[in-house]
Amino acid sequence: MLEWRRRREPSKAMLYLSPLIAIGLTMLTGMLVFGAIGYDGLRAVTAIFITPLIEPQRWADLGVKAAPLIMIALGLAIGFRANVWNIGAEGQYVMGAIAGTGVALLTHDMTGWWILPAMALAGIVGGAAWAALPALLKVRLQVSEILTSLMLTYVAVQFLYYLVRGPWKDPDGFNFPQTKMFSASQTLPAIAEGSLVHLGVPLAILLALIAWFVMSKTVAGYAVRVVGRAPAAARHGGFDANRVTWAALLAGGGLAGLAGLFEAAGPFGQLTPQFPVGYGFTAIIVAFLGRLSPPGIVFGALVLAVTYVGGEIAQSTVRLPSAATGMFQALLLFFLLATDVLVRYRLAWKARPARSAP
């Protein structure tokens, strides 16, 4: 008989191994499930998880999809570490894009190097402002940030619909609900001539490095970690949980807002009702897959980007519905949470009781 035994200390090895085990289990389960409902399971899983990695022409797309996930997940991870459950990143992402687009529409006839930084700043402020309300309600009135941040996501999306169907609708757009296309000085430059990869991708990596440094080497990062792990100890050590809540939500909102602006000024080049693609929710999976650590998040974002790109491939090769990608992502999160148990426990053969060695 197998039984769970509690480890005396959490296993470092399992901390890094269990996400890989979870990915493996997700692939296996996906193969069986999609096989059972009449698809070619092996080909579907290969298309989703392997093909994007071995076909170099997909790599640029991977980077473009990973960048917003990295940025949003970095902010979310800071919050999750501090026990601040900002799950409204999607709304902050949308509001960042809206604020940045506002600047773009104001400066549409102008040129200059300063326009894009101004849009980025507006994106950060827009996202942060959308996270500020949950922060205020949490700190002042102990209203759960889980519910408020999520409710505000629905509000943000409706606000986007309102703008693109109403005041911001492009007059020359054949009545399509969308804004004007951004001008050249409002569009993120590519890192190389003719490349799909825009400036946001290296910036996301840079932000991950900065986040890693802050979280592991500074007193501010320590404050976030200790407030999340042991609030009473944090107070005893002179840390202010309210300030950490504010910082976590503003950082999360700001990063999500910046990601939204990059997406608007990059791949989209305008705002449309199709703009919210759910990166704000997928980033939750990325944050957990990356163990809430910045280097892990870069890895996790790549894995999720692979499932996005692979999901598109599987649609054309195995005729898998687009919703299958979402299923794979959810399965991945389930397995991730399940294999987490391996960090604290180990499986062992049930020995004869009295003889059990520690």
């Binding site: 009135l141 889980i146 408020t148 509000v155 309102y162 919703a323 959810a330 999160l333 949470l337 604290r344």
Partner: protein, 307 residues
Amino acid sequence: MTAAILVSIFMTLAAAATPILLAALGELVTEKAGVLNLGVEGMMLCGAVAGFAVAYSTGSVPLGLLAATLAGVAAAMIFALLTLGLGSNQVATGLALTIFGIGASSLIGAGFVGRTITRLGPLFPADYAAHPWLRLVFGHDAIVYLSLALVLAVSLFLRKTKAGLILRAVGENADSAHAIGYRVLAIRTAATAFGGALAGLGGAYFSLALTPMWADRLTAGRGWIALALVVFAAWKPGRLLAGAYLFGAVATFELQAKAAGWSFIAPEVLAMTPYLATIVVLTMMSLGGRTGGRDAPACLGKPFPAS
């Protein structure tokens, strides 16, 4: 004539309130046992799609409702396995369940988009509800009556029965309950299953009664509103009933305003109202001094055994 309009407005209100009432009532029982399952939205979607798929393929709405209930339980059991069996974080697992519900319902529902079924009709024959006022009493479908009966049943169960006392005890202090000899995890699993069943049923109410047509993510965040409603109700079934019907009123207002073609409010702004109203209500609850702290079960969301 005005009576007929008022009655019809109330009928819409009751219909809008019912799925949220069901889901929130299930979550209330789950939370009373100390389990915070944030996956209500996901369980509702599982129920909605399972109910629609079964009702569409068998032509039987009752079978669809049964399937929805079971699907909700199945989804809740994934949650129970992870949080209660493997000790995973309840908040994170609830989010995962919602993401799963969105993905699964979208995948299964892909083949049903735009298909319609005959919706769930009133429970009593039409001649019982010939008069508008009688319609108020006899004109609802079976689930509306069921939801009201369940509010009463849950209220009595929690306050008057030994089993209800034990359930509350487990949510109040899991360690003590364990020390006395109650099976904390089994009780919590049962409470989670009940929450899943009602969430599944509530989800199916969308696809089988409100809009007898499949559309992606048709619960539109109502599961989250149900969670807020439990806080609003201070974990009391009676207040939950009031809150759900209050929410039904907000939703009915949105529908009526749209139908009346009010041009001075954009439809998008109207669509925001339920979510904004939820935030406002949560805020007012706190301003009124009723922070979750005192009413919430003391062990809500805490793992057992403590890790």
